[in-house]
Amino acid sequence: MNSNPLVPEMLAEYVPVITEILYLIAISMFILGLKRLSSPATARSGNKMAAWAMLIGIVVTLFDQGIVSFEWIIAGIVIGSAIGIALAKKVEMTAMPELVAIFNGFGGGASAVVAGGEYMRLSGVVGTGDSITMAIGVLIGAVTFTGSFIAFGKLKGFVSGSPVMFPGIRVLTVGLFLVVLVEAVMFAMNSGDWLPLVVLAVVALILGILLVIPIGGADMPVVISLLNSYSGLAASAAGFVLNNSLLIVAGALVGASGLILTNIMCVAMNRSLFNVLFGAFGAGESAGPGSTEATGDKTVREAQADDVAVMTAYAQRVIIVPGYGLAVAQAQHACREVGDMLEEKGVDVRYGIHPVAGRMPGHMNVLLAEANVPYDKLFDMEEINSEFSKTDVVLIIGANDVVNPDARENESSPIYGMPILNVDEAKTTVVFKRSLNPGFAGIDNTLFYKENNYMFFGDAKKSLTELISAIKTL
């Protein structure tokens, strides 16, 4: 009889109890670690606490009586750590959504393999209940795996960002779902047979692709949040298979977190989750850029760097509203510099951030933090919306739809009902923009034609640099 070389024989009988107690400690540390994420001041220590909890969980498991060979374990951990650290160190902050998508994929894939591998280890001696949890684990994990890599491809541009549809995709998707169901039942009925589990895994991998590929690139923040939730649920399912409470709890925490973020993103975009996931299945993208109304008699006021410098430097309160265009133009640092200079002149400067300003929840905050904007200057939509009416100048940089008053006023607008930043309540607004072209959604922005709005045309970075030198000469 082999036994774990790490444990002296006389202590072996106590290992299961000690393991469970240490798992409980690890679980508590995960929860406390997440709790510490409720403030930027304690967040870093919270993340470290969760990392320690993970280490405890791994080390404790190594003392498990069943584990007798360590070569493969050590090799796997060394390879995985090297890849993980390399990815984490070199990623650009703008590419965070892609990285999270990759990590999601690996997590889901690992859970699927664990659920399947447990079957191999037990050599098919599994009860009906266990085989159902195994099937669920493999299904969620495999869908997360391929779904995440398609999401990654869409964010990176490898896969078309527009919804990819082909005739019969709906029938195919539903059909494959039925196949999964049938295979799961077959697997549960004759638990000695491995073929249904393999078929189920392959079909689930295809389903992951089919479920994400019809979703537009702009909706990827929702998809990533949802896949994040799935990766947690996959871990939980693996925990059910292994009867491991640590996996179940940790997975449930992640599942809850992903669902909350999914919901926040859906509310911010004024879409239902169903509409995001299956919207393209319906009418088939009628929008297109064709909706340019007669803009004939509407006029815009143009401003130059000097005008904006005077406006802002002699103002009392300025709010900067950044959008993803700011990050695309790599203008975060220039933006922060403008903010700093204005503050030196005694102006109260704040940043108002719409929930969908970046490409994943909270993305813009990270991009600004990277440019050394202090986090106590960043305000979310609910906090800042009542402040605009008391504000002299709002600088809108690289944002468009999220400040379009039509979302509030024009019932026929496609974005009607979407929560927006009420920048038009401020005394003056300045929009930094390349041209008058409608934005991503192809919707005309009525803010541009308001009397108290000025357009500052040009590339965001170039315009901000001009503004910096203009403020300096004042």
Partner: protein, 104 residues
């Protein structure tokens, strides 16, 4: 209530409630680190991967699943470790950037 599935279900549902309570208090500013940190936590599945990869061969009389279990466990360990180590590392890198005005 000795059925392990039921006990697991209890644990799962209660943990979901705890998760919702704790995470709904995380401010918008930290949602990206929350997601990548939670992501790292979902790599907890590595614990399962360890069990699958390193399990005793003679626990399974006549089983030929052993080799497959080792290979699958090895793959799972690599994927889960990427998720865990990379996730915690990049979250730490992000959180390090979040500073108050006075700390600068």
């Amino acid at each position: 209530m000795t059925d392990p599935f039921l006990i697991n279900l209890f644990i799962f549902v209660l943990a979901c409630f705890v998760g919702f309570e704790v995470i709904s208090k995380v401010p918008t500013t930290l949602h990206t680190p929350l997601m990548s940190g939670a992501n790292a936590i979902s790599g907890i599945t590595i614990v399962g991967a360890l069990a699958v990869a390193g399990f005793a061969t003679d626990l399974i009389p006549g089983g030929q699943g052993e080799l497959w279990a080792t290979i699958l466990g090895f793959i799972a360990i690599i994927m889960a470790t990427i998720n865990v180590v990379g996730g915690f590392a990049v979250t730490d890198r992000m959180l390090e950037m979040f500073k108050k005005k006075d700390d600068q």
